[in-house]
């Protein structure tokens, strides 16, 4: 477990270094994720390795790690109440538009390239 966490932290630090050197606003962990992906591919990393075990344990509780930032909602209750309509409409509306655009663009291009997939089998 500790070996795997050490690797994950090392890749996070590598990501932080990379975004500083390139001077981009991308967060270090996202760059670290892409670097780790390349590393796992090149090493043909197996499912029983320490990185997979530690990483899977963290991913099972991904939602927990958002809680401290989410509690920040208490500070902004008044703002949320005063601007409830524009906030709700903008957040929900742009979420739905984004979901539709990403999903349909991806599926549409797959069809165009002649490689559509249907993973769900029976109609849902």
């Amino acid at each position: 477990m500790i070996a795997g966490l050490t690797w994950l932290l090392a890749f996070q630090v590598l990501g932080e270094v990379l975004v500083r050197v390139l001077d981009v606003t991308v967060p270090g962990p996202v760059a670290g994720m892409l670097l780790l992906f390349v590393f796992l591919r090149l090493r043909r990393y197996g499912d029983d390795g320490s990185i997979v075990r530690a990483g899977s344990a963290l991913l099972r509780h991904l939602q927990l790690f958002f809680v401290p930032a989410g509690v920040g909602v208490v500070v902004y209750l008044a703002v949320l109440r005063d601007h409830a309509l524009p906030i709700a409409a903008a957040v929900l509306g742009s979420w739905l538009l984004g979901l539709v655009v990403v999903g349909w663009t991806a599926v549409g291009l797959e069809r165009l390239l002649g490689k559509p997939r249907d993973d769900l089998g029976d109609p849902v």
Binding site: F11, L59, H61, F65, G70, V71, G72, V74, V102
Partner: protein, 235 residues
């Protein structure tokens, strides 16, 4: 209450405990309801912690630093999203071009539509700027909102809020939209609702989870690059 006990209740130890107990209660509910979409563990956890700091009169800033121990792991967990993607890498075949185009077009759609909808409904410019980045994962949303001149912690609240909504309703919405390729389903959810959406997809199916992680990462890249450009046109 005795002062020393009240101090204990406001200590990092007690605040961490409340947060973890709230999260465990959320997991228990999720298991009890057979994984019902509404039962996302993040909700009872935020509710319990928010209630506790309100009742105990603890500053949010004090709570935030008390729970740094929890928030810290968001970084390594984000790095770990490379793992499901690595395990599903064969499925990238024939999907790289659709995936890249979809994420870039989707990121632009998210940013522009959030700003314009808010503007039409009478939001001020600071609020519009705070809403622009909400599809990105929280650290990106915070950094970009800061650079734009919005309210960074509020941007984090929006990002987490839409993440929770998406975790609840995204799979059903994708069914309505007839998006049946698991790669596209995961990608879309990750692109518009980052890690919280991805956590729901990981529970549903490993392919969906893997592509949600990828969608989140690429969308963070695309939004980071697009926000400064689109800001020139929008503001």
């Amino acid at each position: 209450m005795r002062d020393d006990l009240l101090d204990l209740a406001r200590s990092p130890l007690a605040l961490l405990l409340v947060t973890l107990v709230g999260y465990q209660a959320g997991r228990w509910l999720q298991a009890r309801t057979g994984g019902h979409a509404l039962a996302q563990p993040v909700l009872p956890a935020i509710g319990a912690a928010a209630l506790a700091i309100t009742v105990l009169d603890v500053d949010y800033a004090a709570y935030r630093s008390a729970t740094e121990l929890i928030a810290f792991w968001l970084g390594p967990a984000t790095v770990a999203l490379a793992i499901p993607l690595h395990r599903q890498a064969d499925r990238l075949k024939g999907f790289v071009v659709p995936l890249l185009v979809a994420v870039v077009v989707g990121a632009a759609t998210s940013i522009v539509s959030a700003v314009l909808i808010a503007r039409v409904l009478g939001a001020d410019e600071v609020l519009e700027k705070t809403l622009a980045t909400k599809a990105a994962t929280t650290p990106v949303a915070i950094a970009l909102t800061d650079a734009l001149g919005g309210i960074p912690p509020l941007a984090a609240v929006f990002a987490i809020g839409i993440g929770i909504v998406s975790a609840v309703v995204a799979p059903a919405t994708l069914n309505l939209l007839r998006i049946r390729d698991r790669r596209a389903r995961g990608l879309a959810v990750g692109a518009v609702s980052h890690g919280i959406g991805a956590s729901r997809m990981l529970r549903e199916d490993e392919t969906e989870g893997a592509f949600a992680g990828l969608g989140m990462g690429l969308s963070a890249l695309a939004i980071s690059l697009l926000v400064p450009l689109l800001a020139l046109v929008l503001f």
